[in-house]
Every structure is written in C-alpha cells, then in structure tokens.
C-alpha cells in the first residue's frame, strides 16, 4: 500500500486470501464498523486488527465512529445533587452548624472567632489551588475565566484580616500561626485536585464560594452565621469585615462559578461523571470536617485562639480575651 511518501507492506496470515484482503481494505471506507467488516469479509476480528494496525499506526486510517462523550452541564448537575444531599446530611446537620443554627447564644465566642480565623487560613492560601488551573491548556475560554476568577479572589484574605484587629491579632500573628489540620487538610485536597484532576477542582469552586448562599443576596450560611453572631453578642468590629467579604463574593456571583466554567467546557470523555460524582462525596466529607473541626477545637475556651509553633505546639502569640461587652 502506498499513500504519498508512505509505503508499507501488508502480510496477511496464511489463511487469508488475497480476495479477502482486498475486500477488507475496500470496506475500510468509514461506512462500516469493524464487526460489520468482519461479517462481510469473513475475516475474524483479531485477524482484522493485524491487517489494519500497520495502516493505523502510519496514520492512514481515520475513525468515523461517534465518540462517547458527556455533556459538562449534565455532569455538573450530578455533582450538584451529591453536594446538595451531603451538605444537608453532613454539614448543616453536623455539630458545628446545629450549634450555630439551634443555640447560637450558647456557643463559645472563640468558635465564632475560630470560624473567621480558619476562613482566613483558607483564603490566604487560595492562590495555592486557584493558580494551578490558570494555564488550563485545552481551553482558551477556561483560561480566561480562571484568570478573571483568580484576579477577583486576590487579597480577599485582607478583607477578613481586619476582623481580627479588634481581637489584638495582627496579620503577622496570623502568618506565623497554623490552621487546624481539618483546614490544612481541605486546602491540600483542593490543591491536589487542582493539579491532578482540574475538572473536579473546578466543580468544587461554586460550592466553596457558596452556591447555596444566594437566597438573601449574601448567602444562606454566611447569613446564618452573621445572624448567629448578632444573637451571641459578638462585637461588630469582628462581624463587619466578614459581612463585607460575603458581599464582595455575592457581587461577583461566585456561587455560579462552577456552572460558568462547565458551560464553557467542550463535551467530556465518557466516565467523567462517574469520576466526579465519586470524588464529590470525599470532598463534602472533608468540607464537613472543616466546619466540625472548628467547633471541636475552639469550643474549649481554654485553648489558644492563635496556634503557633513554639516550645509548645499550642502556645499563643496574642492574648485574646472574650470580646463581648
């Protein structure tokens, strides 16, 4: 066979006749599947492969079969269902949110401050995971959106850091301090996914930015948290910067970020939905631990608010007092 400058020989096995060989090559015109060619020519499927493989390696055979693909928005819809369900079961029905929603006045002030602190740790390392998708190589649209999003998120930690000034905690204190392992665990999971399965990471952004937070323009759970702060008498100098951050996110409509990305994606290979749906469970588990870890640690008022590395792993750099009047 010869095509342009490429020539190669086909040496069929002994029991294949020249007529069969000719029939196989004539049938490879894009109109028949391999099994149809096999039935038509009487050449067994494995023999067919040995005839056609050299032509395939040389690039002489195209593939006219319809590729198996999944719609990105359908895939994301399935992920959303998992998240909707597990947010209810593991997060809003978990110890942290039950305490905040059911008896906010009984919750230790440190839990409110701790929520702010752990959110700051998360925001201050957001570049670690967001940056990994900036160069998304297979889509110009995704690259553009990822860079816009990165830009919008930049310095959000500075908004929240003001919440801690009234508690005597400076930015320097925070930089020296370390997050709870439930927070660092979530950060590293997201960073890992952003690098090893960027599509899944993108599916999580809308959840982290609060898809369920749009009800009152700021967000259901941030709103609930801010309401609980008011009930518990947490001072406004702590609450206001958090409220401001929630407003900034709502202003950018960050709760829809995953949908915007997925709406811009080309179809996805078969099997993507199963992969993402599986991981979504793991993600919400880690997200639930993020919240519940806050209550577990900060619920004990004897523990330091700011955890640093020192002679003791739980020393504090800031003398923090109950900020309530």
């Amino acid at each position: 066979m010869r095509s342009g400058e490429v020539t190669f020989e086909v040496e069929p096995e002994d029991d294949i006749t020249a007529e069969q060989l000719g029939a196989v090559l004539r049938s490879a015109d894009g109109s028949a599947s391999l099994s149809e060619i096999s039935a038509k020519t009487g050449v067994a499927p494995d023999k067919l492969t040995s005839i056609l493989l050299p032509a395939q390696i040389t690039g002489l055979l195209a593939d006219r079969s319809v590729p198996e693909a999944e719609s990105p928005m359908v895939v994301l819809s399935s992920v959303e269902h998992v998240v909707n369900r597990l947010l209810e079961e593991l997060i809003f029905n978990g110890p942290f949110w039950r305490a905040i929603l059911d008896h906010p006045e009984q919750v230790e002030p440190n839990v409110y401050y701790g929520f702010g602190l752990e959110n700051w740790f998360f925001l201050s390392r957001e570049s670690e995971f967001d940056s990994a998708i900036l160069s998304y190589p297979s889509s110009d649209a995704i690259r553009g959106m990822a860079n816009d999003f990165y830009h919008e998120e930049h310095r959000h930690d500075d908004i929240v850091v003001r919440a801690f000034e009234g508690l005597g905690i400076s930015r320097e204190d925070l930089v020296t301090a370390r997050p709870l392992s439930t927070t660092s665990g979530l950060i590293k999971l997201l960073s890992w996914w952003a690098r090893t399965d960027p599509l899944f990471f993108i599916a999580t952004i809308g959840i982290l930015e609060g898809r369920l937070e749009q009800a009152e323009g700021e967000g259901a759970y941030y709103d609930s948290f801010l309401r609980a702060c008011a009930t518990a008498g947490i001072p406004t100098h702590f609450v206001e910067p958090l409220r401001q951050h929630a407003r900034v996110n709502a202003g950018h409509d960050h709760g829809s970020v995953s949908r915007e990305f997925f709406a811009a994606l080309p179809p996805l290979p078969a099997g993507t939905q199963a992969r993402l749906v599986g991981k979504a469970h793991l993600f919400v588990e880690a997200y639930a631990e993020f919240f519940n870890g806050i209550l577990e640690y900060y619920g004990d008022p004897g523990r330091p608010l700011v955890r640093t590395i020192g002679s003791s792993p739980v020393t504090t750099t800031a003398g923090v007092e109950d900020g309530r009047p």
């Binding site: 002489l60 693909a69 269902h81 369900r85 915007e260 709406a263």
Partner: protein, 349 residues
C-alpha cells in the same frame, strides 16, 4: 449571570417530588428538607401543569420552556431561580455532533499533521550525515544530547503519573512506558565512556537550548496537559532505521569504535523492539473523546516537537563544530555561542 440562566435544558431533578395542592403545586427534594409551593395563575392551571410536565421531561431548551410558561419571561425566570435556589434544577443538555472525535481518530490526525510537518522540515544533522560532512565531535555531540534526553526523560514523564483524571488503563500503560525508559541514560554513558567522557562530566553539562526545550515541553505537558504528553511521544519514539544505518557508517568513517556506537544502536533497537512507535496510538485509544480545540492543541504540540527536533539537529552542528563540552563555569566560547544563537536555522525557513 444567575446560575439557572446557565442551564441549557433546565429540568427538574428526578429526585424532586411534585404534588398538586388546592391551587398550585408543591415540589419537594431531599426528604422535604428543600421544598417550595407555587400557586398557579388563576384560570391557567392546565397550562401550568403542562409546563411542569415539560420541565420534568428534560427535553426542552430554556427558551422553549419559556414559551410554554403561562406568564411573562420575568416570571419564568423568577420560578426557575426559586427552584434552583432549592437545588431542584439539573441540566439535560446533550452533546452536539461534530464537537470532537475518538482518541483513535485523533491519532490519525496527529500522525498526518506530523507527516505534513516533516515533509517541509529537514534535519541539518541528517543532511550532514547524508553528505558525509559531519565531524567526529558533532557525532559525539549528538550522543551527548541523546544522553540528556534519556537522562531527563523520567523527570519529564513522571508528572503524568500523579494525574488522577486519565483512567487506570492509561495510567498503567504509561507507568509501564515510564519504567521501560528508566536507566536508558546508562546505555548512552557506555558509548560516551568509549570516547573519554565520564558520567561525572555529563552531570555537569548543560544541554543545548533545543534539547532542554523539548524535555521542558514534554515535562510541562505531563504536569498539566495529559493528552499533550501522550501526543508528543510518537514524534520522539518513532524508529528511524535509515538514519541509524547512515549514522553507523559515519561513525566508522570517523574512527569511532564499536564501543561507542553499539549502545546507541542497541537503544534505538530497544525503542523498536518495545513497539514504542505505537505508544501514542495505544494510549489515545483509551480516550473516548477528544474535543476539537484540544485536538488542535495536541497537533500544535506534535508539530512543535518536530520543529524543536530539527532545531536541535541544527544546534548540534553549530555548537559541536568547535564548542567543546558544555561545562560552563567562567569560560564560555562566545563565537560558538553566537553561531548557535544568532544564525538562522535553514531547516525551518
């Protein structure tokens, strides 16, 4: 844009239960943790029921649904927004035809792109081999750069093994390929030892810019573009029997011993024996779908590697004419460096 406006074929999740109330419909989701009651407009109950049937069927686009809605577009949007806030909406979008091809089909296109590129690009090193105008130092230089490629190869390939979005078949095949490529630099070290170049020296050498660009390209693809690294394997791995024959003849003419060229020939044979040429096809065959833009990015990556290889062959000719070993501390052969970097590469013009 509000979330529900991004849905192309909005539909009620199949987990949403609908029950008729006295004057409207109640929708419930997640064991009634999320629910919403909507009143039908007076005198339009039948149309409203039909609308919710249509919404549940998942067969209409958002615009089609809006026309079936008994009310204004604003009211339609408000209803969808309310349902979406409760998490009740999914998308039943379909994959448009012509948005991509199979991995096997992608291979054929990449192969043709590679062949088309090769038809217009020639290698200055191969040209010199054919013309008998290659020096002993240039042949040794070729082996040194070949060593850099094999030495950097595991570093360039490894990042793909960390990916978790390529499927287990691709991962396993790639792991086998990675393992097969390990320690190939040791074979080249045997060659170079025969001409007095030690491993210690090699480890101090800088590769030519094109060599490093090739390996950096493949390494970065392996980090962030799985189809990119898979696609660029075949232009690096295809056996070149004609080249090898010519190479061995010129080695003999330049008094290079068998100790020098045997391991190079053996390595080339390794690539052939292990059917490395088909590695890209084997891996791509595991991808059920490659989108058009992604395929174009892969084709760009393939042709880029072919151009870089030609550039590398030009750089071997210019640097190893008289540049010596690329161990740089304080001295640098400026004239050779200028020849390397300032003269146009005829092969690519």
């Amino acid at each position: 844009m509000a979330g529900h406006e991004l849905l192309r074929r909005p539909t009620l999740r199949r987990e949403v239960e609908r029950t008729e109330t006295a004057d409207g419909v109640r929708l419930s989701y997640l064991a009634d943790k999320h629910w919403i009651e909507l009143e039908y407009l007076e005198g339009r109950a039948d149309e409203s029921r039909k609308f919710f049937e249509a919404l549940a069927s998942g067969t209409r686009t958002a615009d089609d649904l809006a026309t079936e809605f008994p009310g204004s577009r604003e009211e339609f949007d408000a209803v969808l927004e309310a349902l979406d806030e409760q998490g009740m909406l999914a998308d039943s979008d379909t994959v448009p035809l012509g948005s991509g091809i199979t991995g096997v089909g992608a291979y054929a296109q990449l192969k043709r792109a590679a062949d088309a590129a090769r038809a217009t690009i020639n290698s200055p090193f191969t040209d010199a081999l054919v013309a008998g105008k290659v020096s002993r130092d240039q042949i040794i230089g070729y082996a040194i750069e070949y060593w850099h490629v094999t030495h950097l190869c595991p570093r360039a390939l490894a990042p793909l093994l960390a990916r978790d979005d390529i499927g287990i078949e691709v991962w396993q095949q790639f792991m086998a390929f990675y393992q097969a490529e390990r320690n190939h630099d040791r074979m080249l070290e045997k060659s170079l030892k025969a001409v007095g170049i030690t491993r210690e020296q090699l480890l101090q050498m800088q590769p030519l810019p094109a060599t490093m660009s090739i390996m950096a390209t493949m390494g970065v693809h392996a980090y962030q573009f799985p189809l990119g690294i898979v696609s660029t394997l075949f232009p690096m791995e295809e056996p070149e029997p004609d080249f090898l024959e010519l190479f061995l003849a010129r080695c003999r003419e330049n008094d290079l011993s068998e100790e020098f060229f045997k391991p190079i020939a053996a390595h080339s044979g390794v690539n052939e024996d292990e059917e490395h040429e088909a590695v890209t096809l084997d891996l791509l065959a595991e991808f059920s779908f490659v989108g058009n833009e992604e395929l174009n990015e892969c084709a760009k990556a393939v042709v880029d590697i072919i151009e870089l290889r030609a550039r590398l062959d030009g750089q071997i000719m210019s640097w190893y004419a008289d540049g010596g070993l690329r161990i740089f501390s304080d001295a640098y052969p400026v004239a050779t460096g200028r020849a390397l970097t300032c003269s146009p590469l005829a092969a690519l013009l």
